[in-house]
Amino acid sequence: MIEDILTVMWKERKTILRGKASHSKFLQMLMFPIILNTVFPITWGPDWVTDFPPLISAIIIPALLIAVMVPDSFAGERERHTLDTLLASRLPDRAIFFGKLVAPIVVGWGVALLLSLVSLFVVNVAHGEGELLLFTLPIAMGILTLSFLSSTTMAGAGVLTSLRSETVQEAMQKLLIFITIPAVLVQVLPLLFREQFMTFMQTVDGLQLLVIVVVVLIVIDIGVFAVAFTRFQRSKMYLD
């Protein structure tokens, strides 16, 4: 099983990072994250290593990258008519599922961590003044966990939305709807509940908030992965 997952990951790596078209597309995807982690640390100042913005970046960057990579990996196989042949091979469903899932997660998470280091380098060059600025432990832990959980949540959601999509575009549109659900929910929450929520938020400190976000993401992850894994079966992959 592990060998099969690695085989699928090998192919995904080739298609994500190799090929002239993929190369330029990948660089385009990285433009915003690079700007986020170079310009913002300069404008934010030395507080970048102790404040919450690197955490926002750690959530947004992998989510952005994976929102492009996962639909391309799952729905893209169908759109490019390579899925049938892959399903006709001896690869088990699980190997295809995990191989296709893990490759974008590794890339998304890796890029997020790498860009956090870039932002650290930038803030040191711009505001270090001879002193080495390092992320505080909660911020460093937050970057590690949030970027990972953001990657997995988005990957799971990406698989779910891709399974019944004929094209990459359709899958990405569905994923966009999925992402906006929490924002819509907040808007439709009864006013009283919203006020209680805001009051509660004011009582928690940064670390507690971090733990709450991590727990919420883990719960969402488990749910999304369970549904995606159940639905990822060969016989359910045909849309006709």
Partner: protein, 293 residues
């Protein structure tokens, strides 16, 4: 709606089996059933001794497939396309390299192995897809219209490869095609389906006799309505027609043709050439489709 209905057939081992039918007849559904990608609502599909519903992994592990679309990763090189599937089939590293080189050389693609497959012509991609299907030397290959849309040279090359696989390596090939000449040349046996039902199953020669009968083609001059009436009155003649200056006499069974030629000569026909033959598979196919409509 039933995609397939009471479909029963057996594919002879080591031969090329043609699976013919118009668009929407159920060919692709049959292939998906064979590969265990779909489960039948009733009935049983056995491939290489394995039940494709209960042991689909066993079936797929022993089968190579070139489906409706070639399944080539266009953003990967030809070599990487084969490398990926060689890894899937778990060929050892050294054997993998040897096999890829052997196949790409055999298909005339070795020199261009580093190029992105997306830049290749349809014929080259199809050859690459065929190489991918036989990479792990499976005992069974399933091919869904492998020569569709190819130029004559590319199609001929693919057909030669298929014939060689069956003849020299004893590979069983399940082939769907709309090209009746191809089916006639390659297949040891053909099945014809329409609306999910089997309408004919035989070797192409017998099928041509069974549904098209024997015929005589006569090139000459002096054919007229009187000649045709005389011919049609003969018990061994099913029908006769003139088209393009050629008289075709359809015979119910294989019969002595000398009396018919004498009859034509006596009626004033100048006979230049006489050919005996059978209906083409294409004619049989058309007749079968019209008969079952």
């Amino acid at each position: 709606m039933r995609a397939l209905n009471n479909l029963t057939f057996e594919v002879p081992a080591g031969k090329i089996f043609g699976f013919l039918g118009p668009n929407g007849a159920g060919k692709t559904t049959t292939i998906r059933l064979l590969l265990g990608l779909l489960e039948p609502t009733s009935g049983r599909v056995e491939v290489l001794g394995f039940d494709s519903s209960k042991q689909p992994d066993e079936v797929r592990a022993r089968t190579g497939a070139l489906l409706e679309y070639n399944g080539i990763y266009e953003q990967m090189s030809a070599e990487d396309n084969l490398e990926f599937y060689a890894r899937i089939w778990r060929l050892p590293t050294v054997e993998r390299q040897v096999r890829i080189k052997e196949l790409l050389t055999q298909m005339g693609l070795w020199e261009r192995r580093k190029e992105l497959a997306g830049k290749w012509s349809k014929g080259m991609k199809q050859k690459l897809a065929l190489a991918r299907a036989i990479l792990h030397q499976p005992p069974l290959i399933i091919l869904d219209e492998p020569t569709a849309g190819l130029d004559v040279m590319a199609a001929t090359s693919i057909r030669e490869n298929l014939a060689s696989l069956a003849d020299s390596q004893g590979v069983t090939i399940f082939l769907t095609t709309h090209n009746m000449v191809e089916a006639e040349r390659l297949c040891a046996q053909v099945a014809v389906i329409r609306e999910g039902k089997l309408v004919a199953l035989n070797d192409p020669d017998d099928l041509r006799v069974q549904f098209g009968g024997y015929r005589m083609e006569i090139v000459g001059s002096g054919f007229n309505e009187k000649t045709l009436t005389l011919l049609r009155a003969r018990p061994e003649v099913s029908t006769a027609e003139v088209a393009g200056g050629q008289l075709t006499i359809y015979l119910g069974e294989e019969t002595d043709t000398a009396p018919l030629i004498s009859l034509l000569v006596d009626a004033g026909v100048a006979v230049k050439e006489v050919r005996r033959g059978k209906a083409s598979l294409e004619e049989v196919f058309v007749a079968l489709m019209e008969e079952t409509r």
